[in-house]
Symmetry: C2
Subunit: 548 residues, 2 copies
């Protein structure tokens, strides 16, 4: 593949790599998988002890300069649910504050003593819930297998009363349960004031109202906007309660919604520069970044997430026309394609692998080969689009690669007998494989549409699990002209969350079990998760308008 042999990426963008004393490629055998339980709770982790991160300080400087200021609002709890006025709390007493909807920010409380002068500290536990169910589950043993440190529960002592308590941490919550663990026999306390200071890089109130034609979708749009707003801080976070990191796959969807709503395009730019600033020694971009106390890439690398860099850059350029950024970041994008192409087998099919090598969807039984192959085909086309602007000489080659891989897919992964693409040695038929092949337009348009119809009439046993995967289903249906079917997914899946009281869209939603947790504990679920916020994108693009 001559277009990738020049090694220009390593030389031009990562000069430090040349001096790195012990450059060691990632050895996949070092990846450390942790399996606990079955089904969704089979978590997979990668852990690499010997990687080399090659920081690009110029990129980091660009990113730093784009750090957004935070918008702050003050919110008081609704009264009525458990009125706090006039009620005094002693040892063992509780009350629940309801702030009316999901928010992200800092809580302040004023405790005043009632009775004798306080002769012992006040000991308080606060339990924050994005949903009421988390509050109600508090105190039960935590059965989850993710770190219990994600549970938003903090205890503290107040030595001097009355006291204004400004909780130092940022929480994601609608409800706060206040448990008075102890006062003393001589006094009780009253909560005289409760206030949340919300933080976000954006303000949903400033977004243009929906056109009248989209009125039926207003609720879906509202909740989408709140979801995205509450995930936008110093970076696009995946979830403000749990994880709180910048993930490249999630960024892809957040950026799309942002272009139609908040239009804080500099935040997308900042995130692109952050990812491009800290690749490993081969130029591979990490699946996620930590940004505090400094920018550190997670030691997790995912085939499809690395490729998403290309697509996010493509979408960003389409939204902004920012040629300077494209120029700067193009080598990083090109490098992701080059690295992906290294994983082809002799039939030009992406090599399958065990474990957590590509994301696609959160389904432990899902074979990722076919979907990953399709994602590479689609991303080569995105790369070709960018090359046409910035690196015209490569555009045709990239398109040719896409065609070659599409042909290989038809040749090797298409099973005409079942009418579906198959994946892996077990020739697995999954919904995800079909969705991605449809998006990659591996088949002719007519066959592509038939594929998606067949997906609905003969649903494979391996279905879609996450809002992330459902987004691509809706996208694929719209591309094949199945507007009604796309709308039905929107209404049943995202609308299903609304019916269950969602103030923001959830990380996971199983319509047959709304309390389902992939972590074994709903207290560990994230109920405001950016990859779920895409209804606003489709709605505001007019995809469901009568004439669309």
């Amino acid at each position: 593949m001559p277009i990738f042999t020049a090694g220009l990426v390593g030389v031009d963008v990562f000069p430090h790599a040349l001096n790195a004393p012990a450059i060691k490629a990632m050895d996949r055998s070092e990846a450390n998988r942790v399996f606990m339980g079955d089904g969704y709770s089979n978590a997979m982790f990668q852990r690499h002890s010997d990687r080399v991160i090659v920081g690009n300080h110029a990129f980091l400087d660009v990113a730093r300069a784009l750090t957004p200021p935070l918008v702050r609002h003050h919110v008081r709890p609704l009264t009525g649910l458990d009125p706090i006025d006039g009620r005094t709390l002693g040892k063992g007493d509780s009350c629940v504050l309801d702030f009316g909807t999901h928010l992200v920010g800092h809580l302040s409380l004023r405790f005043a003593p009632v009775g004798s002068p306080p002769d012992a500290p006040l000991h308080v536990r606060l339990i924050f819930g994005e949903t009421r169910a988390e509050i109600d589950a508090a105190g039960t043993p935590d059965s989850g297998w993710l770190s219990s440190s994600w549970i938003q529960e903090d205890t503290f002592h107040v030595d001097v009363l009355p006291a204004d308590i400004d909780l130092p941490r940022r929480y994601a919550f609608r409800y706060v349960r206040v448990d008075v663990l102890d006062t003393s026999p001589k006094y009780r306390v009253r909560i005289e004031r409760a206030r949340a200071e919300t933080v976000s890089a954006v303000d949903a109130a400033a977004v243009a109202p929906l056109p009248k034609s989209a009125a039926p979708f207003r609720w879906l749009d509202d909740v989408s906007l709140r979801t995205l707003q509450n995930c936008m801080h110093g970076v696009f976070e995946d979830g403000p309660k749990r994880d709180r990191r910048l993930w490249l796959g999630d960024l892809r969807l957040q950026a799309l919604v942002n272009y139609e709503t908040f239009r804080l395009n500099t935040l997308v730019k900042r995130c692109l520069y952050l990812f491009a600033a800290v690749p490993d020694e081969r130029g591979r971009i990490a699946a996620s970044l930590f940004v505090e106390p400094e920018v550190v890439p997670d030691d997790t690398y995912l085939f499809d997430y690395s490729l998403a860099f290309v697509t996010v850059l493509r979408d960003y350029f389409a939204a902004t026309g920012d040629r300077a950024a494209l120029q700067a970041l193009w080598p990083s994008a090109l490098r992701q394609l080059a690295l992906a192409l290294e994983s082809l087998d002799r039939h030009a099919i992406v090599r399958d692998a065990d474990g957590w090598w590509s994301f696609v969807d959160w389904h432990v039984d899902l074979n990722k080969q076919a979907a990953s192959h399709a994602i590479l085909v689609a991303t080569l086309r995105h790369g070709a689009e960018l090359a046409a602007v910035i690196d015209p000489g490569r555009s045709a080659d990239l398109l040719a690669e896409a065609q070659r891989l599409a042909a290989a897919a038809r040749d090797r992964l298409w099973d005409p007998a079942v009418g579906f693409f198959v994946s892996g040695a077990g020739r697995q038929v999954s919904a995800a494989s079909q969705v991605w092949m449809a998006l990659a337009e591996v088949l002719e348009p007519r066959e592509n549409a038939a594929l998606l119809r067949r997906l609905r009439t003969e649903p494979p046993a391996i279905g879609l699990r996450t809002p992330y995967a459902h987004h691509f289903l809706v996208d694929a249906l719209l591309r094949t002209g199945e507007r009604e079917a796309a709308l039905a997914v929107l209404e049943s899946y995202w609308g299903g969350m609304l019916k269950h009281g969602a103030d923001t869209f959830w990380e996971v939603f199983d319509p047959s079990d709304p309390t389902f947790s992939p972590y074994g504990s709903l207290r560990l679920n994230s109920y405001c998760h950016a990859w779920s916020c895409t209804p606003a994108y489709f709605i505001r693009k007019g995809c469901f308008d009568a004439g669309a």
Copy 2:
């Protein structure tokens, strides 16, 4: 009692009382007693809902101006016990830091991650112990009946690592157990640094060394000094772990030791002005004060503690010759005597009462009448001493009152058949009654000495319980010339705490059960308690010198 009928105190010192709209005397029937368990654990509380506090702002201003700056030192934990260097901690792991001796101050810890980038917060619990036993008892259900909020245990989350954590609260501790409640499967933590910043109004290192003649008492003296140092902050606190308040009876003993050691006499002055600044509408001084967020008297009034104001003022004037303070505070002192004399019955004996009306010692079966009567006799003499300086016309009257009450005691409370003073309707014989009668010198010197010898040879069933009461036993023995017996008490009682590893002297000590807690839980005991610090007073006064 003509000397108290002028009502001058109410007019001169508490002018605001005249305008108080709803002056209501304390109704003792309102006192709220809480009994739990038996023996020491019978706690008694007073609670008054309708008292009027008459603040003297001039006194508060004097007190405020005398607020001492705090001396700070940095202390690092000893290595060796549980080495923190190089050891990493994951979920469920613990280590114990040993700072070598008891200290009061603020803890800083630096946590660094080990492994993958931290993908979840660190959740930590810290348990502070003045003694190792408190650390070892952590995690067991707390059986105590005092507020559990006194247990020095705090949990917190660290969202960004590495992190320097400065714990906001002040703790009293030698040991800190660090429990890592959770990290994540991808990382562990190391404690890279641990540091305590001690705080006190004084510095034991600056105290004059013991004379050579007192060399055998050096350990007792060291521990006394550390005890008092660690209780001296914005005021003389009774215990830096639990209570942390300014108590008048405790102040009496702290001030005595201070005059022989730190000589921070302005702190005694500050505390006297604080007490005098916030009496109730009758001029009665509270048993204890809260000083944060503002000066508030506790709603507990104790017969002997109110009288201690006179004695502390007497001792303060003797130590300083501060005539201006004496002039200003004399009316408040006189008022305590007047109020105490109001409680005499027709035989000129202090009326007995149920409940928590006078302290004397911490023994729920102790009848307080005789000891309280003796305390009044002794305090009238202290008042006469002060009057001789500042109000000469009253001195003889006060002495005459003391004589009258002493005679009444001999007449009504002395039981020649048993050779002891009796107390209450049940004619109870207790050690405390004899100790206080001896200090009040109600009997002739020879009989007084015989009384204390009899106390040793025929110990009453109701003995002494606290270091506070044992101080007065030592004092009484020394005053009757029983140096060897006094020394034996010092060595067996305070020396007994040393044998059990005390770094500071304890609030309670039962030689037969060193783990005894009056609160039903040793985790609620205070192991640095100011009323226990008096060995240094006796030692530095030379009471045990060979020639004494």
